[in-house]
């Protein structure tokens, strides 16, 4: 056999592997899309406002501690707190954990809510960096501020858990805002399941460009920036298509740290948030699944599409890169820390389906796709034989990268009655068709960078510039 023949055979072999992988991925996502469609069909016409009123009664809701880790969040923290104070929920406390901010976060919160120092015995159930002081608002007695040495987001959340007094806690990012009914709706699966559900994650949406005043959404609308619009499409796809389907079979390994509720008892049993990873939210969920599997308890972790948390998306490519790199690094670290779960029947479907899905599709997907893009370009120079093959591979990329996004936008528009408006819908659909040509390749490269950083053991979170969602932040 001569060298060109070997090279050609090897090239063809790699091509078929890539094609097989892409077709498998497309099959999985199509299934997810169908499951999400069936689920949304059932709920689409349900008027949720009719049921909310009933659920407000204190007698069947469980009290919740809302924990807001804040590091240099002076731009968004007030809007965040106002939105939390407006929550329709019978009994809850808000703990803002100032994780050694170097900006005006602490002073701003103390001044705005008239906070006074509070003597409080802390039940130190999780190890954290020392707490320096606790303040309580004179205006809103259920609002407290904890100031502590900087230890990272996980450490701040653990400090919040130590100070919390209720059996459930809800983590909300300092730059995010909740709808009035969000807490009620995210707690519903826990209450209705009669404590079988130990954690729930809410739907996170991007609010850049929206009209927000005093922590409340006044008017919905699409931002101008294509980078943000593309992220809106991406969030729709991830939350509506991915998590709904995974949640249907108790396979959710990621519930967003921006908005999720946990049963405190179980989180304490697994040692709280890990400070060893930049993806502490995912790591906690994987750890909980592991504990559930180890104890053979019949517990669930679910995603609920309805409760909405509004978050600020990065609006520059540099910030987006920092975020995506960190997310993927967190994913890699979480999977690595719990590698014993992989393909392990002890953990049921989580070990046999969910873990492999996150490993092969979510973690390694970008790496394989990157190889695919390179392969595609080389194929075009390899002569006529490969043109057809390159065309097919390109179409699978188009299907995977753009058409699924388009389908998600349509699914979202169909399942919701008010948003997006027709002109916004057209704009999002057209933009989603361009994803494969610019946005997807960029995020693939950043995610591969995340894998590299995980392999090198880098620990920095990286700073993302915040502009603030609420008008009062300006």
């Amino acid at each position: 056999m001569n060298l060109p023949l070997i090279t050609s055979s090897l090239f063809a072999f790699v091509g078929y592997i890539l094609l097989f992988y892409m077709l498998a991925v497309i099959f999985v996502y199509t299934m997810m899309l169908i499951i999400a469609f069936i689920r949304l069909t059932k709920e689409r016409k349900l008027q949720k406002n009719l049921t909310d009123e009933e659920a407000v009664d204190f007698i069947y809701t469980q009290p919740v501690t809302v924990i807001v880790p804040a590091y240099n969040e002076q731009v968004g923290v007030l809007g965040n707190i106002y939105s939390l104070l407006a929550l329709e929920y019978p009994e809850f406390e808000i703990l803002v954990v100032n994780d050694g901010s170097t900006d005006e976060t602490e002073a701003l919160v103390i001044k705005q809510f008239d906070m006074k120092p509070l003597k409080k015995v802390i039940h130190q159930q999780l190890d954290t960096k020392p707490i320096q002081a606790i303040y309580q608002s004179e205006i809103h007695p259920n609002l407290r501020l904890i100031t502590k040495e900087n230890g990272g987001k996980a450490d701040a959340l653990n400090a919040g858990i130590n100070v919390s007094k209720y059996p459930y806690f809800c983590s909300v990012d300092g730059d995010s805002m909740l709808d009035r009914t969000s807490l009620l709706r995210v707690m519903k699966p826990i209450m209705e399941s009669n404590k079988e559900v130990v954690a729930t994650g809410g739907n996170v949406r991007i609010a850049n460009g929206y009209d927000i005043q005093m922590g409340q959404m006044v008017r919905e609308g699409l931002p101008i920036s294509n980078i943000i619009k593309m992220q809106i499409v991406e969030y729709m796809r991830a939350f509506l298509m991915g998590r709904i389907a995974l949640s249907r079979f108790n396979l959710v390994l990621i519930i967003s740290g921006a908005f999720s509720v946990f049963t405190k008892k179980f989180v304490l049993e697994v040692g709280g948030y890990s400070t060893k990873t930049v993806g502490e939210d995912m790591e906690l969920v994987v750890k909980l699944h592991k504990a559930i599997g180890d104890s053979d308890e019949n517990k669930e972790i679910v995603f609920t599409a309805d409760p909405i948390c509004w978050t600020e998306a990065p609006d520059t490519l540099a910030d987006l890169r920092t975020q995506r790199r960190r997310w993927h690094q967190g994913l890699a670290e979480s999977l690595w820390l719990h590698k014993t779960m992989a393909f392990n029947p002890r953990y049921g479907l989580v070990g046999l389906v969910s873990y492999p899905y996150f490993l092969l599709l979510e973690l390694l997907g970008p790496l394989i796709e990157l190889v695919g893009y390179v392969y595609l370009i080389i194929s075009l120079f390899m002569g006529e034989v490969y043109i057809m093959f390159a065309g097919l591979l390109g179409l699978t990329f188009l299907l995977y990268g753009s058409l699924f996004s388009m389908a998600s936008v349509l699914l979202e528009a169909w399942s919701r009655n008010t948003f997006p408006k027709i002109e916004e819908l057209i704009s999002l659909v057209l933009l989603s068709l361009t994803e494969v040509f610019w946005y997807r390749p960029l995020t693939i490269i950043w995610r591969v960078e995340g894998i590299v950083r995980a392999l090198r053991g880098k620990r920095e979170w990286g700073q993302i510039k915040r502009r603030g969602l609420s008008e009062d932040s300006e």
Partner: protein, 344 residues
């Protein structure tokens, strides 16, 4: 091989065309929906004064407001919802009932038997909210059906309990669908006292979860005359029932049977000690102080904290806490006492 590749290509292109078609279809439906909403809004704006004349001022006959088509019925329903959401009066309920039974019976019945469960649930909530008693037979018929979602069953039960004082009990005691505690709470929270009493006639034979819920409702509503039943539950071999009884005795804010509660302060179950600590907040000073002094050094943090809180609410609570600060060798108890005397 090339043929397979070609077929795959065609499949992907076809999928794109399907999505494109769905996209256009969606836009068509969205446009239609926007138009429908606008029509409803226009109707409400145009007729709301007339409706208020009929419903509130009693100056107009219902014939003048007879809905002309399905969209107008939808608009009237929306108007009922807005009114009923904000106002509650017997007169309003009667007027809505009269009007709906005359002109909208088929509208509600159609939704009640609709294939889509969401539509059925929506209309059930509305029937509950508007008190549409003329649909009683249809509601019972629905309840007798074999297949329901849990949500549907719960709202059907609530409607029966709201509109018919005694018919509800069998559906609560022997539900067709397994119910959890949260479900029972949803069912029981709006029952009046006589209905709770009816339900608890054979308390010992009820499902455990229903017993727990009844105790919680009694505690939340401060039904003091139920104290003997609470005491009866304290002798139960079911640990959760004892804890619930203790918890709700604490909510009744009475602690007149010292000897009954005192033994729970030494229980091996920390939740029972916690609830005992809660109850002793309402006990006479000398009895409570001795027990709470012990519980403030308990092995469970929750019990210690509760003991400190209860101590604070005693008549001479400040003195008792000062005494802990001065005399206790337990640093944690001292900290808690200091916290209680500070700002809580």
């Amino acid at each position: 091989m090339n043929r397979i590749l070609l077929l795959l290509m065609l499949a992907i292109v076809l999928l794109f065309l399907v999505l494109l078609f769905l996209f256009l279809l969606l836009i068509f439906y969205r446009l239609r929906q926007v138009k429908r909403k606008k029509t409803i809004q226009n109707y409400i704006e145009r007729y709301q004064e007339k409706w208020i004349s009929y419903l509130v001022d009693d100056e107009l006959s219902p014939e003048q407001l007879k809905p002309a088509n399905a969209v107008e019925m939808e608009a009237v329903d929306e108007l009922f919802f807005r009114l009923r959401y904000h106002f509650d009066s017997e007169e309003l309920t009667k007027k809505i009932n009269d009007y709906a039974s005359e002109y909208m019976e088929s509208y509600y019945l159609k939704q009640l038997t609709h294939r889509n469960p969401s539509i059925r649930i929506n209309v059930l909530y509305k029937i509950y909210l508007y008190d549409l008693t003329f649909l009683h037979d249809a509601i019972i018929k629905q309840l007798e059906k074999k297949v329901h979602s849990k949500e549907e069953y719960l709202v059907l039960c609530k409607i029966v309990a709201k509109n018919f004082q005694t018919d509800f009990a069998p559906y609560y005691i022997n539900p067709k669908i397994p119910l959890g505690e949260f479900d029972y709470k949803r069912l029981l929270v709006e029952l009046d006292k006589s209905q709770i009493e009816l339900l608890a006639e054979d308390f010992d034979d009820l499902p455990d979860l229903l017993k727990f819920t009844i105790l919680d409702i009694v505690g939340a509503n401060h039904y003091l005359d139920w104290l003997p039943l609470m005491h009866h539950c304290l002798d139960s071999p079911i640990q959760e029932l004892r804890i619930r009884a203790l918890k709700n005795i604490a909510l009744l804010e009475v602690a007149d049977a010292y000897s009954v509660y005192e033994k729970f302060a030494s229980s091996t179950v920390w939740e029972e000690r916690l609830m005992a600590a809660k109850i002793f907040a309402f006990s006479p000073q000398e009895q409570a102080e001795a027990v709470l002094n012990r519980l403030i050094t308990d092995s469970s943090y929750a019990v210690r904290l509760q003991a400190a809180k209860s101590m604070k609410s005693l008549k001479n609570g400040q003195q008792a806490l000062d005494s802990v600060i001065t005399n206790s060798s337990d640093a944690f108890a001292v900290d808690l006492a200091e916290e209680m005397l500070g700002k809580e």
